[in-house]
Subunit: 452 residues, 2 copies
């Protein structure tokens, strides 16, 4: 075996020099995902057409499913009905539905017209599942068995129908009304005797999801139980499809990206960064920037309110950025851990009291250390500052860190309770709230200690 390599530049050169025979040979050595990436990267639609035509028939649909939307659209427009029909019938339902959801209406009409009636009705059913539901990522291409079959019968059924199935590794045992009765892996079948009966081998306590469950729920179950696929049932426990681990992996990764974006005060975008236009990026960001800017004005008003204090003791103002920043940082630490814990299902709103109690103790430790360092530093660097000023700053620090940690732990849970996304309560939103409260604490303490 040679080391696998995919050299885009080399392949592009072959296209430019029209060395198609050599290119066709090279294409047989590269993975479908890379072939799709290569075709998507070509400059003209003609080049895309030509190279796509060089692919072996049995990989064409897989390559097609992995291409970017623009290239898929270009190909659909140029292929004749016969060619297009072959590809559509070869696509897995979930890939077809995924693609159709994002193509322009005239292209979708062309596809549905060409698709065979069964495929068309399947696509139509799937298109009706809500975005982010399990239904939207499931596929109907599974192997179903009957519990009365012997291992030999089951294996020969798998060999007969397996070609077009998304996975043959887990097979689903259903009764005549399509109710799910159990699952059996091909491993169980192969390791059993030929005359054993499926009923005796199958796992009857099956963990399943329903079409309307959140796809994130399915992804968490995959992560927890290390499944390769999971059955999807309707309300009457009839098997309607399966979800496979590769889709769960994509969901996990996309949901994490979405959380990262929300936690940085952006509306999540579906496209990769470099493919997102400037206006779309600006639109995703401006709403939260505006909301936070306007809320940030509250801190400004509080500062104005205490104008007299910092005209009297100007040095007080110079500690404001440090206090508000530290408050924001301390709060974000707590909120990030809670948001992530909620997302992974490791924490639930029931844990609120344990969490807050933990955060208060952490805050006292951290706050005391920070306050001490601060006190020492103020006494050392500012020669003619009063001890009470240093005390004011240090005391504010302890109170701020405690307030920030408790808020950071509480707000995501409140959001969850209100059926909002906990990720909204991350750093930016939290910082804005903590800023205002920090200033109030600061000037209240200053009033008491400094008598201003």
């Amino acid at each position: 075996m040679d080391q696998y390599q995919y050299n885009k530049e080399e392949l592009t050169e072959l296209v430019q020099n029209r060395k198609y025979t050599q290119l066709a040979e090279e294409l047989t050595h590269i993975n479908e995902v890379d072939a799709a990436d290569f075709i998507s990267s070509l400059d003209t639609n003609t080049q895309k057409m030509v190279v796509f035509g060089l692919l072996e028939k049995d990989v064409a649909a897989d390559v097609f499913a992995n291409m970017d939307r623009d290239s898929q659209q270009a190909l659909i427009s140029s292929l004749n009905d016969q060619q297009l029909s072959t590809i559509i019938e070869d696509l897995a339902t979930d890939d077809a539905v995924d693609m159709i959801g994002e193509l322009p209406a005239n292209i979708v009409r062309k596809i549905l017209r060409i698709a065979k009636p069964d495929t068309r009705s399947l696509i139509n059913t799937y298109l009706r599942y809500p975005e982010d539901s399990v239904g939207s990522i499931m596929t109907a291409e599974f192997v179903d068995l009957k519990k009365t079959m012997t291992v030999k019968e089951a294996i020969s059924r798998i060999r007969a129908v397996g070609e077009d199935k998304e996975t043959i590794y887990t097979c689903y045992v259903t009764d005549e009304k399509h109710h799910l009765e159990g699952i059996v892996t091909i491993r169980d079948l192969l390791l059993a005797k030929d005359d054993a009966v499926v009923d005796s081998l199958m796992e009857k306590d099956v963990i399943s999801v329903t079409t309307l469950d959140d796809q994130e729920k399915a992804a968490l179950l995959f992560r927890k139980y290390d499944f390769l696929s999971m059955p999807v049932v309707d309300k009457e426990n009839r098997l309607v499809g399966i979800v496979t681990v590769d889709d769960a992996v994509d969901v996990m990764s996309d949901e994490a990206t979405e959380d990262f974006e929300k936690m940085a005060a952006m509306q999540p975008s579906e496209k990769p960064y470099l493919k997102t236009g400037v206006f779309e990026l600006a639109r995703n960001r401006i709403v939260w920037l505006l909301v936070l800017m306007i809320s940030g004005m509250v801190s400004g008003s509080i500062l104005s309110h205490y104008e007299s204090a910092f005209v009297l003791i100007p040095i007080l103002v110079s500690f404001v950025p440090m206090l508000t920043d530290t408050g924001g940082n301390a709060g974000s630490q707590a909120s990030t851990m809670i948001i992530r814990g909620l997302a992974l299902g490791e924490l639930t709103p029931h844990d609120w009291f344990r969490i807050v109690w933990k955060e208060i103790r952490v805050a006292v430790i951290c706050g005391t250390i920070l306050a001490t360092v601060n006190f020492a530093r103020i006494m050392l660097t500012y020669r003619n500052v009063q001890v009470t000023v240093a005390l004011t700053v240090s005391l504010t620090m302890v109170c701020t860190v405690c307030m920030a940690k408790v808020l950071g732990a509480t707000l995501p849970i409140v959001a969850k309770k209100l059926h909002l996304d906990p990720a909204l309560m991350a750093s930016p939103m939290l910082t804005t709230i903590v800023d205002a409260l920090t200033l109030i604490i600061y000037f209240t303490v200053a009033k008491e200690l400094l008598g201003i």
Copy 2:
């Protein structure tokens, strides 16, 4: 099929009432992961021992692998050598290595003493791979085939040796010196004729990783190519193990959690939140809080430096929190997208120029909108404020947003170039830098426009 259910309270009651026969029956219906969770949750070690003893032999090792470290340790101490040996030999190497890495030395010695020589030497080899390397998550339990075998021979070999293998779905074809020659899936084998030769069915352009590759690299390949398992080779292309998708899923999830923690200025922790002690949490957080607090003092000094300005025009100070917060938010939006893009391999340092050019245009759009809203709001709410003050704030806003976005896009890439983790350049660190620069921009603009 009944709906799968795992009711911890009900099972705990059975333990308390010593209804062991009923409990043993119930245990056969629940998933190994849940059984492990249940046993880990029991109060006393005696209860754990008793319930573990009720498990069916063929699931005991799986349940054991999924229990928490404390419960594993308790069981290892109480089991006799014979019982322990059975479990150790049944564990997959990667699970055994994972566990041993975290147990106290005396327990590890006990395990290694009891393990059979082959197992012991395997465990010792694996323990030597660096943390976070592919070697540390791989397993040696794969099915290897020869390319001269027929499908019939291959399938009967799989049926003979498959019992103890981590996966039988992808089989690895090696020569007599263990060099990897290709892979063949059980699907390819089952769908082919009995007398076909493995050589004609196997995929020869195999994507593989090496033992010393970063486990994150392997996880990204799984995500990109939708693999179920991947071969791990040494420098001479000899097959030494495989990584399976369930481990890749864990790596992806752990790496995302680690990034969330780093991006909120915490040292990453391996344990779930509720299992981490207060002092450990405080230790993970205090370092960055201190570093950022001390850096935050720079902003304070800058504010002091311009003391004269805000004594002259006190209203200027009240816009400081809004300007610094907005700068920080705008910068975090950019840095978050870049950090995530780098982590997923969608961006590389080569894209720097494209990224910065994109961010500058986004910044101009966002900055202008924010500045306009601000200008209008200042003119409307502050009756007796000069137009030049409103202009100062608005101009500063545009410059700050541009500066913040460019820095937010650049710093993670610089970190990557310096082989540091880009996640360190997230919100907290960035905000501290942006704060200081915002103040300098603000007072420079104020000097020019207001002549102070």
